[in-house]
């Protein structure tokens, strides 16, 4: 857990963001392909990668693991991963797992 980025929220606006919209269910069936695409995105992302989760209809532990993995890889590249428009269901699992404080959010 100590590899997780804990950037304070105030620092999030420091660079112009790269915005990625996710939609649909994130589960163990869809996760691997999404993970690959997000890892590819890191190759051309600016220093701030923002995931818009407003259209995510399902996210369980597999989705959380994916976010942690992408964040870890992003951090190694000097990229901050942030979340925006987090739906209530995703917010809930983030809080239940204790991960919520580790993901900066933008409005």
């Amino acid at each position: 857990m100590n590899a997780i980025d804990t950037l304070p929220r105030s620092a999030v606006n420091a660079t112009s963001p790269t915005l990625v919209h996710l939609s649909g269910d994130i589960d163990i069936a869809t996760g691997p392909a999404l993970r690959r695409r997000l890892m590819n995105t890191l190759a051309y992302s600016t220093g701030l990668l923002v995931l818009d989760l407003s259209q995510v209809t399902f996210c369980g532990a597999a989705g959380l693991g994916l976010l942690v993995g992408v964040q870890s890889r992003a951090r190694a590249r000097g990229i901050t991963l942030a979340l925006t428009r987090v739906p209530a269901n995703v917010d809930r699992v983030l809080r239940l797992s204790g991960l919520a404080p580790h993901f900066p959010t933008t409005p």
Binding site: D27, A29, G60, A62, G65, L96
Partner: protein
Amino acid sequence: MTEETAAPSEGLAGMRDTVTVRLPAASAYLSVLRTATAGLAARLDFTLDEIEDLRIAVDEACAMLLRQAVPGTDLTAEFELTGDEMSVRVAVETVEPQDLKRDDFAWMVLTALADYVEAVTDKDLAIVLRKRRGAARPA
């Protein structure tokens, strides 16, 4: 699921309150099971938040089981609806059941969302979870 259960809630008068769903033990089918879970929970008048909790809990249980499922076999989900509680037993066939990992996100989320969770290693590998309507909800 042969034991007698309490009288079903009024909306289910006269209906047997046990539903079995059998699907290929493959991750692509979990979305189907989540949908079935939500539909059944709605029959018991669970709130939308509780239905979402059940959807996630069943998904986590299945995700844990699928790691050990024999390819080409089925995943079985038995739902039992009583007055204010849904009980779900999900099971897969394994070659030799291994203890489920209890230190990962899936187990953490599952136990947080369900009122009761039990892993059963018998001739198959199963997880039983229960959730009551109107129970205190974790933050």
